[in-house]
Every structure is written in structure tokens, then in C-alpha cells.
């Protein structure tokens, strides 16, 4: 099984971190993994995306041109990447910021009001983790526990107090998908 994941949004939405956590978690689960950022000249505020491949087999191309999973955090990213998603693929849309509907009928669409839920949790910055929780529940690409283990590994010890909030955010995203089923 090979997951080709594209995550896109604007700078500061935690797009790169989401990708890195997935990659790290995949590595912890013994999978082959790769992570590539789009790197533009802009430092912050510009559009950002990263490509993650998680596979049971050695990874050929780490460049993802037809993602099987697309995680879309803002409108420009939907316009840019919706046409590229592999037919039958899964698309996750941050409906807090994107009013537009996905026009393709050959994709499994999950709308996640990520910023609204993050606001309820009292931290708008955690919207990426709400989204990630939905992605994990829908795709099972890696386990939630692996994501938490990855957080422990990448966060410095004095930031470990943030792990419960991250877990809550993942749970809220997951609950959204489970309620849909």
C-alpha cells in the first residue's frame, strides 16, 4: 500500500508540521516515508504545501503529482490541487475557511470545520491537528498513537504540556468522521 499525500494551505496553518508528523509517525511504524516541502521565496504568509509518501515498499518518486489523499486548508489550494487528486482519492477540506464545494464527483469528500473546532478548544493554531484527526480516522494511514509518539519526539520537553491539547484536537477531528459514518 502506498499513500501519496498532499497537504496545502497558507503559511502559518501548520501545513508543513502536519506533513512532518505523518512522516515521522510512518517511520515509527516501520514504513518507508518521504517528505518534500514546496519551497518558495516567501518567508511567511505565502502559500505552502508539502508532499508525503508513506509506503510498505521502497519509495520511487517522492514527488507527488496525483495525490491519493489531499488535505486542503484554504481556497487557493482547493483551486490549485482539486484537479490533481487521483480518481477515487480522498479530499479533506477546511470548511471553516472554504465555502466553495468540491466540484468533482469521483472523490471522497470530507469537510472539516477545522478552525471552528480549534476555536472551541481555545487555540486557533490547533486547527491543523483537528484536520489531521479527521484524516487519520478516514484513511488510517498511521495510528493516532504514532502521531502522539511523534509529537513527543519532535517537541522539546518543555512543550510536552501541549500534548493533551493536541490529543483533544485529534479526537475532535476523528469524532467528526466517526459521526458521519
Amino acid at each position: 500500500m502506498t499513500y501519496e499525500i498532499l497537504i496545502a494551505g497558507f503559511g502559518g496553518q501548520g501545513v508543513m508540521s502536519m506533513g512532518m508528523l505523518l512522516t515521522y509517525a510512518g517511520m515509527l511504524e516501520g514504513k518507508y516515508v518521504s517528505w518534500i516541502p514546496s519551497y518558495g521565496p516567501e518567508q511567511r504568509g505565502g502559500t505552502a504545501n508539502c508532499a508525503v509518501v508513506i509506503s510498505d515498499e521502497e519509495i520511487g518518486s517522492p514527488v507527488v503529482t496525483e495525490p491519493t489523499i489531499a488535505v486542503i486548508m484554504n481556497l487557493p489550494s482547493l483551486d490549485k490541487f482539486e484537479p490533481t487528486v487521483s480518481s477515487g482519492g480522498k479530499i479533506f477540506v477546511n470548511s471553516s475557511l472554504i465555502a466553495k464545494d468540491v466540484s468533482r464527483s469521483d472523490l471522497l469528500i470530507t469537510k472539516v470545520p477545522a478552525n471552528d473546532i480549534a476555536g472551541e478548544l481555545g487555540a486557533d493554531r490547533i486547527a491543523n491537528m483537528v484536520m489531521l484527526g479527521a484524516v487519520l480516522a478516514e484513511t488510517r494511514v498511521v495510528s493516532e498513537e504514532s502521531i502522539i509518539e511523534s509529537l513527543k519526539a519532535v517537541l522539546p520537553p518543555h512543550r510536552h504540556n501541549l500534548i493533551p491539547l493536541n490529543r483533544d484536537a485529534l479526537e475532535r477531528g476523528k469524532a467528526l468522521v466517526l459521526a458521519k459514518e
Binding site: M20, T23, Y24, M27, V33, S34, W35, I36, P37, Y39, G40, P41, I59, G60, S61, P62, V63, T65, E66
Partner: protein, 358 residues
């Protein structure tokens, strides 16, 4: 973290591998997409009593490399395409004075300032002598983050073994990407640098590091000696990977990041029943001619894929030497050929082979 697998960015992996290979001096000047490497060295080298200097220019940096190498140190510099152009004079001097050094080029699109996006358009510059004079250097082209670690370490040994600069030739994607990497424990050979300018140490004459030979006969003699050394390097330092050559009718040829993409295409083609193989040069100088001898009894055509308008393809044509048609596909300007595009090209070549046209 001896053999522990860690997730790291390609550029940082080069830095850590260099430190583990005994590199204690780094001189550089910033340029995207390789800035994570000097940034890593700025932080890491002081921890091992090393020295990091951000020079005032690329020209200054390569000449600092010359100085440190002349004093017997393991030393590295890195840059991306426009900056590597500025270093060419220094690289030629390193070759002329027979000084070991490792130079990293994480290629971006050119010519001129070009773009910060990835490219493979410095192949000619790297392999055919970007600087002046008759010289060669081993050029290693990694295709994964793990290989960035392994080949960077190898590069230091090769440089010391032949007293010659060695280039690690990557691209922007390779430098920016993260993959798991394990730094392999290795026993580096001990190199006695009795030629270094470290004081007379009891000898009657001081050592001299120089590339100036005004007497034509002496200069010719120096060139002959260098040439003999390059021929030894060419014989000993060939590296490549081949896949599915046994029955391949069409052989893809690509290096670095493009080899990863063409490898995916090859796998998809084989699922469709197409007899396709892959040659991946790891040393692009010396070029792995022998891999083509392995392919040629069966191969009816070659398809070279690069992020350039066609540079390595010239070495492929020299290796094949008219015994089969050599096709080319490339994109430039920071555009990475997609697996779908490469597949279309491959299918067109394959159809010609099947139709007896190729």
C-alpha cells in the same frame, strides 16, 4: 545515535555526515536551496571544536577551503548553481595544487540567477571541468537522503586518497526533502598528509602548495602526472545502480532525483508487461560506461531523462557509441518531469522499438 534511524532534511544530513567523516572546517556563502547545510554547520562545528566561517563571497569561501586543505584539514564548502560558478577558479586551483576538498552543489535552475527550484543543468560544469585547465574530479550524485550521508562520507575519503577535490552533486529537492537516515559507523582510512604546510617538522625544505609551473617541460610533466592520477580515479571510482537489465528492451537512464522518478515509471511499465530497465549513474564522473555494456546485448533503445535540456545524454551516447538509438526527455527552469510525462515518453519509445523503428 550510532545506527539509530532519524528523520532529517537532506541538507542537514550532508552536514552531519561531514562532521562524522572528520570535517572540521566549513566556509560558505548563503544561497537557496542549500542554506540548511551552512546553518547546520554553524551550529554543529563549534560543538566539535571546528570552525565555521560565513565568507564575504563564494570566491572567498573556496579560497579559504584552499588554505585549510593546504594545512592538512578535512574541509568542505557548499553552494547552489550560481555560487558554484563563482567557485570554479578555486576548484581549478585545488586540482592544480592537488588539494583534497569536498564541494557540494545543490543545483537550481539557470542560467544566470535562474530560479531557486531544482535542476540538473550543471552536469556539464561538474563533469567536464567547470574551471580552466585539464583536470577531472570525482562527482557523486546521490538519489536519497541516506545516500547523501553515505556519499558525503565517501567523498572525504576519495578526496584524501587522490589529493583532489570531489563534488557531491544534488538538487534542490534532495536538499529540502526529509527521509529516514542512519549514519553508518565506519572506519576511515588514515591519510598521512606529509605534504601539508604545517611547518618543516625536521625536514630541510618547507612544503609548498602551488599550482604555478612556468617551465613548459615542468608544466607538461605535472599535467602528465595529474592525468595518470585521473585515469586511476576513472578506473577505481565508478559507481552505479542497475535494475532489470537482464531482459530490458528499453533502458531508462537517469541520476539523482530523476532516477527516483524514472524508477517509479519503470515499475509501472513492468506492471503493464513492458520490458524496461534502469541505469542510474551514481558517479557521473567517472561515467559508468560498463553498465551500458551490461544492457547493450538486449537493449534496443535508451531513454535519458534529466532536469536539463540534455547534458548527461551526451555521455550516454558516448557509452552506447551508436549501437542503439538514444532518446532524451528533459524539463528545465525548476520543473520536475512528472511520472506521467516520463511514462508518455517511454511508451512512445517502446512503441518504436516494438514496431522495429528503433
Amino acid at each position: 545515535m550510532a545506527n539509530e534511524t532519524v528523520l532529517m532534511k537532506g541538507n542537514e544530513v550532508i552536514g552531519e555526515a561531514a562532521v562524522r567523516a572528520g570535517c572540521r572546517y566549513f566556509f560558505g556563502y548563503p544561497i537557496t536551496p542549500q542554506n540548511e547545510l551552512p546553518a547546520y554547520m554553524a551550529k554543529r562545528l563549534p560543538e566539535v571544536q571546528g570552525v565555521f566561517v560565513q565568507a564575504e563571497s563564494e570566491t572567498a569561501a573556496i579560497n579559504m577551503v584552499y588554505g585549510a586543505s593546504g594545512a592538512g584539514a578535512r574541509v568542505m564548502t557548499s553552494s547552489s548553481s550560481p555560487g558554484i560558478s563563482l567557485k570554479q577558479e578555486g576548484i581549478s586551483y585545488l586540482a592544480g595544487a592537488e588539494l583534497p576538498a569536498v564541494i557540494v552543489n545543490m543545483m537550481r535552475g539557470g542560467p544566470g540567477l535562474g530560479t531557486i527550484q531544482p535542476s540538473q543543468s550543471d552536469y556539464f560544469q561538474a563533469t567536464k571541468g567547470g574551471g580552466h585547465g585539464d583536470y577531472n574530479m570525482v562527482v557523486l550524485a546521490p538519489a536519497s537522503v541516506q545516500e547523501l550521508a553515505d556519499l558525503t562520507m565517501d567523498a572525504f575519503d576519495i578526496a584524501d586518497k587522490y589529493r583532489n577535490p570531489v563534488m557531491v552533486l544534488g538538487d534542490g529537492v534532495l536538499g529540502q526533502m526529509m527521509e529516514p537516515v542512519a549514519f553508518k559507523e565506519r572506519q576511515s582510512a588514515e591519510f598521512v598528509k606529509d605534504w601539508a604546510t604545517t611547518g618543516k617538522q625536521g625536514r630541510s625544505k618547507p612544503n609548498l602548495i602551488n599550482s604555478l609551473y612556468l617551465d613548459p617541460e615542468k608544466s607538461a610533466e605535472h599535467n602528465e602526472e595529474l592525468h595518470a592520477k585521473y585515469m586511476t580515479m576513472a578506473k577505481n571510482e565508478v559507481r552505479y545502480e542497475v535494475k532489470n537489465l537482464e531482459d530490458a528492451e528499453v533502458v531508462l537512464v537517469a541520476y539523482g532525483m530523476m532516477a527516483r522518478i524514472t524508477s517509479s515509471v519503470m515499475n509501472k511499465a513492468r506492471e503493464k508487461g513492458m520490458k524496461v530497465g534502469l541505469i542510474r549513474p551514481i558517479s557521473v564522473w567517472p561515467f559508468p560506461d560498463e553498465a551500458f555494456e551490461m544492457a547493450l546485448p538486449q537493449a534496443k533503445a535508451f531513454l535519458t531523462v534529466e532536469m536539463s535540456k540534455g547534458q548527461m545524454v551526451e555521455d550516454v551516447r558516448l557509452a552506447v557509441n551508436g549501437r542503439a538509438p538514444v532518446y532524451f526527455y528533459g524539463r528545465t527552469g525548476g520543473v520536475i518531469p512528472s511520472p506521467q510525462e516520463v511514462m508518455e515518453q517511454l511508451e512512445a519509445v517502446y512503441a518504436k522499438v516494438q514496431g522495429g523503428e528503433a
